[in-house]
């Protein structure tokens, strides 16, 4: 038995491949010789594609950028990886891939293919489309002499979703969405010339610029407006928080929307047709600043603020749904939501989803609640009803669902 196990383990050594030198396993790299690629860019070039990698060889070393052109991303990257003299570039720590708008319009699928198929790149690499210019120019403009351009891009992921300006979809999410319903969203960014935050920075600052809608066949690519992007984030439950200015009682009050809960309820007719889709958005907000004077403890103030907030959010969500239906592209994945809620009824529907979707009535209801005004007195009860216990709230929400 022992001999059998030892023989099996010895034979399994063959799985590791062979290499020269002391080691048997072929993946050996000297850690001090590694060039750590953190950002990849891809832009349209005359003879195909212009790619660049941006990486560092250590914490205090200056960031370096290498670029190359080739007929495809794979060929151009393959040649370029050999370029860093005396160093071995590894792509396993790539955090973001920037794609120029022109290249994205034509060959977005190739970028996804490269990330998915190359053994080192990770599927959780963030995918970004650079609007109004080349991706490499944005990266150069961002970095200056500061090696932290990749940090800026990595930080973008967290920061823009926190302030409700966008959401960086990873290659995995984009590819899964394309494979699922033939359409996907990609975050767009733009370089803007603003005053430098500090001298080492480059000339450009990074700004989110809405979502791009891409399709599986790589044909049409459209961009969502700021309001549609907000509505999309609400409906996809990607919004973590958002500051909104509300004109309330002669003031401009800024509220921070902190808790967002989205629920869907498909309504089927007796003949099995999907009659409409009910969407319910529940928002909780806190008052964070106010220009002008008003008594924030008054019920009227709160009710008006809640109504205005609900209106803004309802318009944003309705705009996103309308755009999706107008394009005939279900980038909000409403079909997926209905199939998760009512898989059998969706399957048995007499009409195909594709033909139903553009005219499907979507009823959006938004309930906003201004929780805290940060006033020194306790907020008064404004609903006029007795405050419900968490247990009662849970039972009510279960009944609703």
């Amino acid at each position: 038995m022992k001999k059998t196990i030892l023989a099996a383990l010895a034979l399994s050594l063959a799985l590791t491949g062979c290499s020269s030198g002391l080691t048997i396993f072929s993946n050996y790299r000297r850690i001090e010789n590694i060039e750590l690629v953190r950002t990849i860019t891809a832009d349209k070039a005359e003879d195909g594609v212009r790619v660049s990698v941006y990486g560092t060889a250590g914490e205090e070393n200056d960031a370096r950028m290498y670029e190359n052109t080739g007929p495809s991303i794979g060929v151009a990257m393959g040649e370029m990886i050999l370029m860093p003299l005396g160093r071995e570039a590894i792509l396993s720590h790539t955090e973001s891939m920037l794609v120029g708008e022109d290249f994205a319009r034509e060959r977005m699928g190739e970028c996804l293919d490269y990330v998915e198929r190359y053994s080192e790149t990770r599927l959780d690499t963030g995918l970004l489309i650079v609007r109004g210019g080349a991706a490499i120019d944005l990266l150069k403009g961002l970095s200056g002499s500061d090696p932290a351009a990749s940090d800026i891009l990595a930080g973008l992921d967290k920061n823009i979703s926190r302030v409700g300006e966008g959401y960086v979809f990873t290659c995995r999410e984009v590819a899964a969405s394309l494979a699922g319903n033939g359409v996907a969203l990609v975050q767009c960014v733009r370089g803007v010339e603003e005053e430098k935050l500090f001298e080492a920075r480059g000339d450009l600052n990074l700004e989110p610029d809405g979502f791009a809608v891409i399709t599986e066949d790589g044909g049409a690519m459209e961009f969502l407006t700021e309001e549609e992007t907000l509505g999309t984030m609400l409906l996809l439950m990607k919004l973590r928080s958002k500051n909104v200015d509300l004109p309330v009682q002669n003031t401009v009050s800024t509220v921070s929307v902190e808790k967002i809960r989205t629920s869907y309820e498909p309504v089927f007719g007796e003949d099995g047709r999907l009659l409409k889709l009910k969407v319910r958005l529940e928002l909780s907000a806190n008052l964070i600043s106010m220009r002008g004077a008003a008594d924030v403890t008054r019920r009227e103030f709160r009710e008006e603020a809640q109504t205005r907030l609900s209106g803004i959010m309802r318009d944003a969500a309705a705009g996103a749904v309308a755009r999706s239906q107008a394009m005939g592209l279900d980038f909000l994945d409403l079909e997926g939501i209905v199939s998760r809620k009512e898989p059998i009824r969706l399957e048995d529907m007499p009409e195909a989803w594709e033909s139903l979707f553009p005219t499907l009535p979507v009823e959006i209801r938004v309930e906003s609640r201004l929780e805290r005004t940060f006033d020194i007195v306790d907020p008064p009860e404004i609903s006029g009803e007795e405050e419900k216990s968490p247990w009662e709230k849970l039972i009510e929400s279960l009944k609703d669902n």
Binding site: K2, I5, L9, S12, L13, L15, T16, L22, T23, I24, F25, N27, Y28, R29, R30, I31, E32, I34, L36, R38, T56, A57, G58, E59, E60, N61, I90, S92, H93, E95, E120, R122
Partner: protein
């Protein structure tokens, strides 16, 4: 020629079964400067002679004088008493010694002398009467030095077996507690005792322990390895299979669990069989502290096993082959730190592991204050200097130190040493095969541990060999208020249920 010249003349061969005579006894102890033999006159009668023999130092001179010589030479007590009658009187309590034995075989009488007896040899009757008059010069019971006690009994075993059996008896006042004596070693004839509770301890384990003690063919049992290596099922395994302890409370607790104990004269240790892996992860303090804290500490020890075994190997595998597993920031720091180190990662780790072992060995061998100083100097100054001189990178120092510290949490020194050996093999496997090598190493280690048995009990029970039942018993400690089960593998006489 030289060898022949240096060879001492062969002593006359006297069988152990030979009758006891003065000449034979003196022949046995020929050239022994501590052997004393003097003639006594029974009842003061010069015609009624007997020979007193003893080993000076092993017996108490005053006890011999007061308890044996004085009554024996008293004319009123032994007036005209000769031969068999004198022997009968001696055995009947006419001298003031509580242990008296009649010996008609030379081997038995000589053995008694070596065990702190004095012998009165009656040449004509070819008989000796031996009395126990051991010298009181022995180390007193002290607190354990190696196994620290915070909250528990502080009486550790000493080199004298009688004291050790007394410590056990005081804790286990059970008439069924048996202490069977065995002579160990063909030449040293060291006394050993098998300790168990009759009717409770598994008879099969008792019988097997007796058999293995009886088959020990060493010259003497002067070191613990003689017991441990002869008692284990697989002596080639570096993992300890016999629990050794200097703490009498731990010894007794294990006896109550259904284990068999072994005490050896001359060794301040108690041995316990069967030894299972989970037992080496426990300390008596687990039963002194709160059960939640004890359980957490036990889990911490298991975590330490993983850390001490795998940390260096995992680092080598990740740094050499699987850089994608390292978080970006950490990898950047590692690249930066490694940039100025001239040695490859493999050599760097091996060097640090060896340096760590050297420091540890130096710390143990040197006298206590110097040893501690060496350890501190080694850890602080040499480690820091090595980093500053770019001989090693700081991450390697952290990893090796972490593995070393985790190893020190092992309650059993032998288990810690076994894990250190395995750590080297895993590092070598990682150097050649990366994470695949670590996986192979772990698989082989698990295989080895799972095949080990101690007195018929699977070594890895309850992790292996018991279908995964009773896992909580190994990992956690239940409250003392809860009726708890014993290790079912020990098959105790009460069916495994402890009486509260």
């Amino acid at each position: 020629m030289l060898r022949e010249r240096n060879k001492s003349p062969e002593p006359p061969k006297i069988g152990e079964d030979a009758p006891v005579t003065v000449a034979a006894m003196e022949a046995v102890f020929r050239d022994c400067y501590d052997f004393e033999s003097r003639e006594l006159h029974i009842g003061g009668d010069a015609a009624n002679r007997v020979r007193l023999c003893f080993i000076d130092g092993l017996v108490s001179g005053s006890d011999v004088a007061e308890q044996v010589i004085r009554p024996l030479t008293d004319p009123e007590r032994f007036s005209d008493v000769r031969g068999p009658a004198a022997i009968a009187m001696l055995l009947g309590g006419s001298v003031y010694v509580y242990t008296a034995k009649s010996r008609d075989k030379l081997g038995d009488a000589a053995g008694d002398l070596l065990n702190g007896f004095c012998a009165l040899i009656f040449d004509a009757e070819r008989t000796a009467v031996t009395f126990e008059v051991k010298s009181p010069q022995r180390r007193s019971v002290e607190a354990p030095k190696e196994e620290k006690v915070v909250k528990g009994a502080k009486d550790a075993f000493v080199e004298t077996m009688k004291i050790n059996t007394t410590l056990v008896r005081r804790k286990l006042r059970n008439p069924h507690l048996k202490i069977r004596e065995f002579p160990l070693g063909e030449r040293a004839r060291t006394s050993a005792a098998l300790v168990y509770i009759e009717g409770f301890t598994n008879e099969g384990i008792v019988a097997e322990a007796s058999r293995r003690l009886g088959r020990i063919r060493a010259e003497g049992a002067l070191t613990s390895a003689v017991i441990e290596e002869n008692m284990v099922d697989n002596y080639r395994s570096p993992f300890p299979q016999v629990i050794s302890t200097e703490r009498s409370d731990k010894f007794c607790m294990n006896i109550l669990e259904g284990r068999v104990g072994i005490l050896v004269d001359g060794l301040p240790l108690g041995f316990l069989v069967p030894g299972t892996f989970s037992q080496f992860m426990k300390v008596p303090e687990d039963h002194s502290g709160h059960f939640i804290i004890a359980s957490a500490l036990t889990l911490l020890r298991y975590l330490s096993v993983a850390l001490t075994l795998l940390a260096p190997a995992f680092y080598v595998a990740v740094a050499m082959y699987h850089q994608e597993m390292i978080p970006t920031r950490l990898l950047q720091s590692m690249i930066e730190a490694r940039a100025s180190v001239p040695f490859p990662t493999a050599l760097e780790v091996i060097m640090m592991l060896l340096a760590f072992e050297l420091l540890q060995e130096a710390g143990i061998r040197l006298p206590s204050p110097i040893g501690e100083t060496v350890s501190i100097i080694g850890a602080l100054i040499v480690g820091q200097s090595a980093v500053e001189a770019s001989v090693v990178s700081p991450v390697v120092v952290v990893v090796i130190a972490l593995a070393g510290i985790a190893g020190y949490t092992m309650p059993n020194l032998d288990m810690g040493s076994a894990l250190r050996i395995c750590r080297f093999f895993l590092v070598l496997a990682a150097i050649f095969l990366g994470m695949f090598g670590v996986a192979i190493g772990c698989a082989l280690l698990t295989y080895h541990l799972s095949t080990l048995e101690s007195f018929g009990v699977p070594y890895m029970t309850p992790f292996a060999g018991s279908e995964g039942r009773h896992l909580s018993r190994a990992l956690l400690r239940r409250s003392m208020t809860v009726k708890r089960d014993r290790e079912p593998e020990l098959k105790t006489g009460d069916g495994g249920e402890a009486k509260l």
